[in-house]
């Protein structure tokens, strides 16, 4: 799914690279406010949904080559954060949807997520 299509589905405002949003393809998504959860999710062409708006969101995205970040719950990033995203070629958008609603809309529209493998200890118990 294209980033522009995501913006349309979530009635999101695109804050950076709105002209390029048509060219950026997203295969899967990760929704979290914890950066280590995002880091554990290493995939290609990922969109990140988060309610966090500190610079570490952009750092994490930079390390993982994440090109699309969606701020949920109407969160607006600072000018500093927008500038960091601009430098990294990251499309930022903000939606008034909650995390649950935004993820649900994208899932229904065909973006699939991931299920973690059962930890070894739990697998042994069952």
């Amino acid at each position: 799914m294209r980033a522009s299509e995501i913006a349309r589905l979530l009635h999101a405002d695109i804050l950076t690279f709105s002209e390029q949003a048509d060219a950026i393809e997203v295969a899967t998504a990760c929704g979290s406010d914890m950066m280590s959860d995002v880091i554990a999710f290493v995939k290609e062409r990922v969109a990140l949904l988060t309610g966090l708006t500190n610079p570490q969101v952009i750092r994490t995205a930079e390390l993982l080559d994440i090109k699309v970040i969606i701020f949920v719950r109407g969160k607006k990033p600072s000018a500093e954060l927008v500038a960091m995203a601009q430098e990294q070629g990251i499309v930022l958008m903000t939606t008034r949807d909650t995390m649950f609603t935004a993820c649900g809309k994208l899932y229904c529209a065909g973006i699939k997520g991931d299920t973690l493998a059962m930890p070894a200890s739990a697998a042994e118990r069952s």
Partner: protein
């Protein structure tokens, strides 16, 4: 090639710069993208731990012909129980830190998953040294 960084304490604007700068350098060298990702996300977790738990410290990265060695050291409180700290979900981070997106207790597990070798030398009241080794993967970048 060897380079080093200062990691300031609890500075959420600066934190992560050692890892992102290393990513830029390794990209310039032309190492495979998946390998660079593995190295720099493990480094990022270690870097955040130094900034958040270790009271600040330093990082040094050495790029050899067949391996990358990244060492993170601090003079912070140390880790009393490493086995406990290694468990997924274990964290001593404050509510304030959690609200900034850290303290999921997944940092050390993420490092272990991504590094080929992980060594933690720690002494309570003295500090912690985390050493990670990554074997350079040959192949298309």
């Amino acid at each position: 090639m060897k380079f080093s960084y200062m990691i300031p304490r609890l500075d959420f604007t600066a934190a992560g710069k050692a890892s992102t700068d290393t990513k830029r350098r390794l990209t310039q060298i032309g190492l495979p993208i998946a390998f660079i990702k593995r190295v720099t996300i493990a480094m990022y977790e270690a870097e955040m731990n130094v900034a958040i738990h270790g009271g600040g410290g330093e990082a040094s990265v050495e790029v050899g012909t067949d391996r990358i060695t990244a060492i993170f050291s601090d003079q912070g409180p140390g880790i009393p129980d490493i086995d406990l700290a290694m468990q997924e979900g274990y964290s001593t981070a404050s509510e304030e830190i959690r609200n900034m997106g850290f303290g999921a207790g997944m940092g050390l597990p993420n490092m272990k998953r991504n590094a080929d070798e992980l060594r933690i030398d720690t002494e309570v009241g003295k500090g912690t040294v985390v050493t990670m080794v990554f074997h350079i993967e040959k192949g298309a970048s």
